[in-house]
Amino acid sequence: MRIAVLSGKGGTGKTLVSVNLATIANSSTYIDCDVEEPNGHLFFKPKEIEKKNVSVKIPVIDDDKCIKCRKCIDFCKFNALAFVNNKVKVFEDICHSCGGCQLICPTKAITEKDKIVGEVQIGKFKDIDVYTGLLDTGKASGSPIIKKLLEENINNDKLTFIDCPPGSACIVMESIKDADYCVLVAEPSIFGAHNLKMVYELVTLFEKPFGVVLNKVVEGENPSEVFCIENNIKIIGKIPFDKKLGTINSNALIVVDEDEQYSQIFSTLLETILKEVEHETIINS
C-alpha cells in the first residue's frame, strides 16, 4: 500500500509527517521524491546504500545527414533546439527527452545518447527501507528520477510512504500516480490555505482518496481548517505548534522515537489512514 504525503510548498511538515508515519509503522518503506532537496535521509541516516544512476535520452545531430530543414526546431515545444552557425544546437539541460525530434527528422540525422541526470539511493535504517532520489543541479526535470524510484519499489509489498516534492507540478503528479491514499499537510495561515487548495485540486483531479493533516496548530482561527470545513474535506490529524517538536526536528531526530505524546499522535494518525484506505477499498470493490 502506498501513502503519498503532499503539501503546496516546502517547509510545511511534509517530511515530518512521512518520516514519523514510516517510523511508527512496522518495517515500512520511505521514498523521498523531493529530488531537488531530499531531506528524509537526514532523519533516517540509511546504511548499506546501493546507488543507481538515472539517465535520460538526449538527441545527437549528425551534421552530415542534416539538410537544415529546421523541422526538429519547430517541433520542439521546450525550445531545446536552436539553429545557429548553420547547425542544429541541442540544449541538453532544457531537453525533456520526448524523442519527438528524432521521429520528425526526414533524414534520420538525429540519434540519441544517454545522459546521467541524477541517481537513486536505496538503504536501510533499522527496519525501514529508505529510497532517496537525487537530481543533479540544473537538470530539466526530476520526473525520470521519480519514475525510477517508484519502479525500483514496484514489487515491494510493505506499507510505503512517499514524501512528494512541494507544489502541484507534473513531478508531484508523477509521485502520486500510483498512490492508494494521499495525505495533505497544511499550515494554519491564509497562505497555507491557498497552498492546500492547490494540492486539493490536484488530488481531486486524480480522484485519489485523501485527508488533511493540520500542522503547527495554535489556538484561534485556522484558515486551512476553515477551507476543509467549507469543502467537506476530512481532517485526519492535527499536530500542535510546539517548540519542543521544532528542536527535536531541527536536531534531525525522529520525534516519535523521542517523545511519548508524539508517538501517540502519529499512531492514531496511522490508524486513521489505514481505516480510511480500507473503507475506500470496500466502497470500490
Binding site: 525550445n79 536552436a82 539553429f83 526530476g142
Partner: protein
C-alpha cells in the same frame, strides 16, 4: 548594421522591455536606412526555453547587435554562437538607446543570468 531590441510597444519612443525572452515584440533597426520594424516575439508564450527561441528570432533576422537590459545564459549561447554582440540598454527610449549605441556610449552586457528552466519544483 541591424540592431535588435526587446519592445513592449510598437513605438521606438517607448522604453526597452525589461525582459528579453518574454518581450512581446522585437524592434529590428537598420542603421543604414534608419528604419525600424517590429516583429512579434512568438517565443513570449512558450512554456519553457523562451530565451532560446527569442534568441533564434534575433539570429534569424540577421541582427548584428542586441541591446537588452538582461539576457539568460542559454539565450546568450545562441546569440554568441551567431556572433551577435550584446550591449546593456539604458533606462531611456529605444531610439535613444540606438543613438547612444551609435555614439559608443553603451557598455557590453556581461552578466548573464541563469535561466529558470525546468518545469518542476516550486
Amino acid at each position: 548594421m541591424r540592431i535588435a531590441i526587446p519592445a513592449n510597444e510598437k513605438n521606438m519612443e517607448d522604453l526597452v522591455c525589461p525582459s528579453f525572452g518574454r518581450a512581446p515584440y522585437f524592434l529590428i533597426y537598420d542603421t543604414q536606412s534608419s528604419e525600424g520594424v517590429f516583429l512579434e516575439n512568438t517565443a513570449a508564450s512558450s512554456q519553457g526555453g523562451a530565451g532560446i527561441k527569442a534568441a533564434q528570432i534575433v539570429v534569424d533576422n540577421k541582427a548584428d547587435v542586441l541591446i537588452t537590459p538582461r539576457c539568460g545564459t542559454q539565450a546568450a549561447e545562441v546569440i554568441n554562437a551567431a556572433g551577435i554582440k550584446v550591449y546593456k540598454s539604458q533606462n531611456i527610449s529605444m531610439i535613444d538607446n540606438i543613438k547612444a549605441f551609435e555614439k559608443n556610449e553603451l557598455a557590453a552586457l556581461e552578466n548573464f543570468h541563469a535561466g529558470f528552466h525546468g518545469h518542476g519544483g516550486n
